[in-house]
Symmetry: C2
Subunit: 198 residues, 2 copies
């Protein structure tokens, strides 16, 4: 496409690399931004600049924050001995939206994967082991995705922590509002095995 | 969501207003950007700033450019007497990608719409009439969308230009690679009426 000016082509190319956008929708988004360059494009550029300058990973847990230690790690109220292990920051945000967990988090930054040669050292696992004593953790809750890699990682961490601290994981079963007819066999099997007496 | 820092929340809110992104995909895109803040977020912020400062509408045709007159209007080679009328800049880019039209463009900036009280003055129609003489236009090609508003606008322009210049419009018919079974009745009717002798 030699028809749009070079600066605009460069912007479209970068936008097209965002997840959820392709070349076509990036072009649409950029035209939308240019049509609103005063109210949306310039403020968006400034907001991105501000985040680029201030966002960093919490040195303790790996959460995204604007300080070296994130607000959750900095809050004494959340030092209740519970540590929730998640795969990435999006999962931490999902847990926080549920608003039910009052302890601290530990963001692994991925899952173990022999195929991609991601071992414990590539994740934040050594730091997790250090935190158990440093923060008097009494229970580690594994909130990893119910995928093969997620569950492999959960087993590895459970083994590494055995005998040192109580380790639990999120319950598997029927999601709220879920209809049996639409659930996969694995979920129904898990829900039946973990059935509760009423 | 009180869990992400304020700067990041602000960025997510703005990204969620882009066409093709919602709150969920905006959150994902922002996390993707933060994870690549050196290689992607900072350059993207700069690219947006550059476009916000330089992008403007061509005073002659309404194309997006970085100068007061866009390269197409500035090029003498494209002053061949043909003027292609399009609804918006995305349509101009689509025409340019096809690479077959060698004349100049005129971007209306929308279509006539009684419902939204958009009349000829709200579009770039008076400027179109001025250009016919100023640029010695011999043919106006209406490349408007095949929608009700697009066709209403085409009829209005054809009436306004009657007797002054040759007016044509894009052919309607079966798209290249199109299968009859998937085409609507209107397209098949138009293609049959405009059938060509082989």
């Amino acid at each position: 496409m030699a028809d749009a000016p070079q600066e605009i082509e460069a912007l479209i190319d970068m936008m097209a690399r965002l997840p959820g956008l392709g070349p076509r929708s990036a072009r649409r988004a950029v035209l939308h931004l240019i049509a609103r360059r005063g109210q949306l494009l310039a403020p968006l550029a400034q907001a991105m600049q501000a985040v680029a300058e201030t966002a960093r990973e919490c040195l303790n847990c790996g959460n995204i924050a604007t300080a070296d230690i994130c607000p959750i790690c900095a809050s004494e109220a959340r030092a209740n001995g519970e540590l929730c292990v998640v795969e990435d920051v999006a999962d931490l945000w999902a847990m926080e939206r549920a608003g039910v967990f009052r302890g601290r988090y530990h963001v692994l930054g991925g899952t173990l994967s022999a195929l991609d040669s991601i071992g414990p050292e590539e994740l934040r696992i050594p730091r997790l082991l250090d935190r158990i004593e440093a923060e008097n953790i009494t229970e580690v809750i594994l909130a990893l995705n119910a995928t093969v890699d997620g569950q492999t990682t959960a087993h590895y961490i459970a083994d590494a922590l055995e005998g040192r601290v109580r380790v639990s994981s999120l319950a598997q079963g029927v999601p709220v509002g879920g209809e049996l007819d639409y659930l996969d066999d694995g979920t129904i099997t898990a829900a039946l095995r973990a059935r509760k007496t009423l």
